[in-house]
Amino acid sequence: MRILWFVLSPLMALAVGLFFLGLSRRFMARIQWRVGPPLYQPLIDILRQFTQKSVSHGPLFDLGVVLSLASSFIVVLFMPLGGTAPLSSSGGFLVVLYLMLLGPLGIALSGGEAANPNVSIGISRKLILALGYEVPFLMIVLALMTYYGTISIGEIVAAQRESASAIASFPLVFSGIAYLLILPAMLGVRPFEVVGAAQEISSGPAAEYGGPYLALATIQHGLTMFIGISLFVNLLWGGASNPVVFFLKMLVVFAFGFWVNAAFPRLRVEQAVRYLWRWPTLIAFVGLILVATIGR
């Protein structure tokens, strides 16, 4: 059973991630009163990109994309997707925190090799933005670990299954709100879209990717979206007992994220950091203090 999950969960992440990419384009199109592309448009794009020729800028350019994609797949293995996670140990969550940084880092390494100024600007913006949301995110994580007394995602999910889900229980509701506030930044959608701004810096870190590289980067983007949403569902919404319910819960969070994407204009990077270090950090800090003083 566990062997099966080793194969199933990356495949599920891939499928759901690509589905979300297609759904997001369709979703935005409907909000903008357009028809929009078919749901399988990302598949067509990826097929087209894989069959195009491309140039490589060096060995690190090739390896960085692979590193980023591989780390995203490994993170997926640690994630209980409505069942047991294939790789779950007591320290699973800490590993996930480290591995999640490898995604942007791989893209940064790869883009750095290309020596395109737009890529460099995009990467520096991405790292600054990561600095912005990592602070409240670590506070949320710390509050959850303190509250449930464990550093395993699986045990956090199991504990929520016994009582209420975290976002519905008193001290942790602050952490939940803070997570919702930083979720667009973690997904990289509109108010925090400045990393890959197509009009200003020619899509930022992806500016030098063409052909298969772009296909891999697109898949990585889908996986990042999948991880960000599934982490929220697992940590704060009590996971799910089967993949279908898990997927439906993810869909709700996704709809929230893309509603924000459609409704808000883009923030400059210093405005984004000012926002992220003010309200989400404050609320997450209040949550952490409450958890530390009141406890369970």
């Binding site: 929009g36 067509i44 772009l214």
Partner: protein, 192 residues
């Protein structure tokens, strides 16, 4: 539109993918680009056919040259065209790219674009309406289906002639030839 016909996808997946994922370069040469915003936004919504603009030449496979081309722009056009990954398609938009249009006797606009880069199709008119872009896209589908959108192959095959023409107008170009002629011939023979 045969996007939903599964048999065609099974028979020629590459061709179908190239047909329904035409990503155009954001490159505006002349007045023609004013027709592109309504084409890609709510009024005409080109995205439903998979036609979206992309920010960089590396991610694109459709080059829409919108309007008159001055000598300085020609340099940028050639650079952008050579940066695009193959297979790539070019469409000249407006009469200026065909024969110079109303700028036929201008001191600074090249008259026929297909002397410098290969063109797969033209949209005639001054200005063509956004509908004309869709007509061009559907026509390009037909060309891709019949393997007739082969501008990039012609460029490789006749690279020496194209490069000579480019240097006639631009003088010394600051980048080396992208194909050595023998290499280009070899690739052409291998891939047809």
């Amino acid at each position: 539109m045969d996007r939903n016909q599964l048999m065609k996808w099974i028979k020629a997946p590459t061709k179908m993918a190239h047909k329904y994922s035409l990503n155009a370069v954001y490159f505006c040469t002349g007045c023609g680009v004013i027709e592109v915003p309504p084409t890609i936004t709510s009024r005409w919504d080109a995205e439903r056919f998979g036609v979206v603009p992309t920010a960089t030449a590396r991610q694109a496979n459709l080059f829409l040259i919108t309007g008159y081309v001055s000598v300085k722009t020609l340099r940028a056009i050639i650079r952008t065209y050579e940066q695009m990954p193959e297979p790539k398609y070019t469409v000249g938009f407006g009469s200026c790219t065909i024969n110079g249009g109303m700028y036929w006797d201008s001191y600074n606009t090249i008259n026929q674009l297909d002397k410098y880069i290969p063109i797969d199709g033209y949209i005639a008119g001054c200005m063509p309406r956004p509908e004309a872009i869709f007509v061009a896209v559907t026509h390009l589908w037909t060309l891709i289906d019949k393997d007739m959108a082969d501008g990039y192959k012609r460029y490789r095959k006749n690279y020496a002639a194209y490069r000579a023409n480019q240097e006639m107008i631009l003088g010394e170009m600051e980048w080396p030839p992208i194909f050595q002629t023998e290499v280009a011939t070899a690739i052409t023979e291998r891939e047809g």
